[in-house]
Symmetry: C2
Subunit: 252 residues, 2 copies
C-alpha cells in the first residue's frame, strides 16, 4: 500500500489535493486512477485510507475515508551527527528515519568540511523514507550548527549516547542496559573523528554515556545505523526489555 | 596509515611485489614512493609494516619490516542474506565486512529476482572495506544458493539469528542475551519478505532464534547493519558483557 506524507489536517471525508511530485508519482509513476486507494499521514492525525476522486494533468484530489492507525508516540531519540560527504549524509538521513529518530541535528566540528548541505533534498529523503518504513511522522532536519554551541545549549534532561571510537568506553549494550528510556540523543563524529578537546567537552557533560561500537573502524553512516539499532533494541520500541532492567555482569 | 590485503605469506624481511590496481593506488593515487610505509595483511600472518623499495611504471615492490599486530581470531558470525538489487547488495557487503562477519552467503528465495551478481566486484568491495576498517582478514563471499538447500545442509552447531519481520519474535537484544557466543549466523530476507512457507522452514530449524528489529519496516541493507550491530554488541567483540549474562526481565 502506497503511503504519502501530506501537510494538511486529516479527518473523515476530507478533501486532499495533491500537486507536483506527489501527484506525478501516483498518477504517472504508479499509474493509479480514480477509485484507487492510498494511505495518508501528516505527523499528527494518524494514518488514513483515502481514495483518488479526481486525477488530472496538473494534479489529483483524494478523499479520506477511515483512520487506519491512530497517531502513536515513538521513543524520543534524536540524532546528532557531524557533517560528512553528500552520499553518506544522504544514507544517514534515510537510515536514521527508518530507525525512528525524531529529529536530525547536523554538527560542524574541527574536522568537518565546509557546509554544502542541501536541507531541502535531505528533507525529501527523510519524507520518502518515512513513507516507506511505516512511521507516522517525518523527522525534522536542523541546519548545521557548531558542536560547541550545541553542547553549550545542551538540555540536561536529554541523555547522550556518545559513540567514542578513541577511548575506553564500555560496549554499547552494556552501557545502555539499566538506563532510563528517554529522552535521548545519539552523537556520531566526522570521518576523521573528534579532536581530543572535543572528546573532553562531550564527556564532561553530565548527560553523556560514552559507548563503544566495537573494535573495528566504522564509517560514519555505518556507525549511525549501528548506534541507533542498538539504542532501539535496548531502550526504544524494538526492545521488549523491561525498562530499567538489571544490568548483566559486565567485563572490566 | 594505508592498509593493503595481499595474498602472499608475510614474514620479516620478505619481498612483496604489487601489480595492477594496488600498485596504481599506492604510486599514482596516493603518490607514495620509495621509502614510504604501508601496512600489509593476508588473513593469516597478522598485520605487517612494510616499505616501498622499488616503484616502477608497471608495479612496485615492498619489503616487510616488523609485525604491527598479531593475527587474532574474530567472533564466528556469518551473514546469510537474500539477493537484493545491486546497490543495496554492495552496501550490504561493505557494511557486513566492517561489522566483522567471517563470510557472506547469498540466497535465492521465492521473492528474489534472477541472480546477476558479480562476485568479483563484491569481493573487491569486501577487500577495500576490510583494508579501511582495520580487520585482519577479508570475508569470503559465496555464490548464491537456494534457501531450501542452505537450510537442508544447516550445521546444527551454528545458531541462527532469524530477523523475522512478520511475526511475534522477541526484541533482538532480549532474544540474544544469555545465549552462547558462537558460532552464529544472521539471516535477512529479500525486500518482499520471506513467504510463510519459508518462514516456517526457517523457524523449524532447532538452531533458529527468531528476533524482531522493531516495529518499522527496514530496507534489507538497514536490516543487515542493524542485526549485525546488535549481535556484535551482545555476543560479539563489541559486547563487554560476560558471556551467558543473566537475562533481564523481559516484557511479554
Amino acid at each position: 500500500m502506497i503511503r504519502l506524507f501530506v501537510q494538511v489536517p486529516l479527518r473523515e471525508g476530507g478533501d486532499v489535493p495533491l500537486e507536483g511530485d506527489q501527484s506525478h508519482y501516483l498518477i504517472r509513476v504508479m499509474r493509479l486512477g480514480e477509485g484507487d486507494e492510498v494511505r495518508l499521514f501528516n505527523g499528527a492525525d494518524g494514518e488514513w485510507s483515502a481514495r483518488i476522486v479526481e486525477a488530472g494533468k496538473r494534479g489529483c484530489r483524494l478523499r479520506t475515508e477511515a483512520m487506519a492507525r491512530p497517531q502513536s508516540s515513538a521513543p524520543d531519540v534524536e540524532l546528532n551527527v557531524a557533517l560528512v560527504k553528500r552520499a553518506p549524509l544522504e544514507t544517514i538521513v534515510e537510515k536514521a528515519t527508518e530507525l525512528g529518530v525524531n529529529c536530525i541535528r547536523l554538527l560542524r566540528t574541527e574536522r568537518t568540511n565546509p557546509d554544502h548541505t542541501n536541507l531541502e533534498r535531505l528533507a525529501a529523503i527523510a519524507r520518502e523514507a518515512a513513507e516507506q518504513c511505516g512511521r507516522l511522522d517525518v523527522p525534522q532536519i536542523h541546519a548545521a550548527e557548531r558542536l560547541a554551541d550545541r553542547l553549550a545549549a545542551w538540555d540536561g534532561e536529554r541523555a547522550l549516547m556518545f559513540c567514542d571510537e578513541a577511548g575506553d568506553a564500555q560496549g554499547a549494550v552494556a552501557a545502555l542496559l539499566g538506563k532510563g528510556p528517554g529522552p535521548w540523543a545519539v552523537l556520531i563524529g566526522p570521518e576523521g573523528g573528534f579532536t581530543s578537546a572535543e572528546r573532553s567537552a562531550i564527556r564532561s557533560l553530565a548527560a553523556t554515556t560514552p559507548v563503544s561500537l566495537g573494535p573495528r573502524i566504522l564509517r560514519a553512516d555505518t556507525a549511525v545505523i549501528a548506534a541507533l539499532s542498538v539504542w532501539q533494541s535496548v531502550l526504544g520500541d524494538g526492545a521488549g526489555l523491561e525498562v530499567g532492567s538489571a544490568l548483566p555482569q559486565v567485563r572490566d
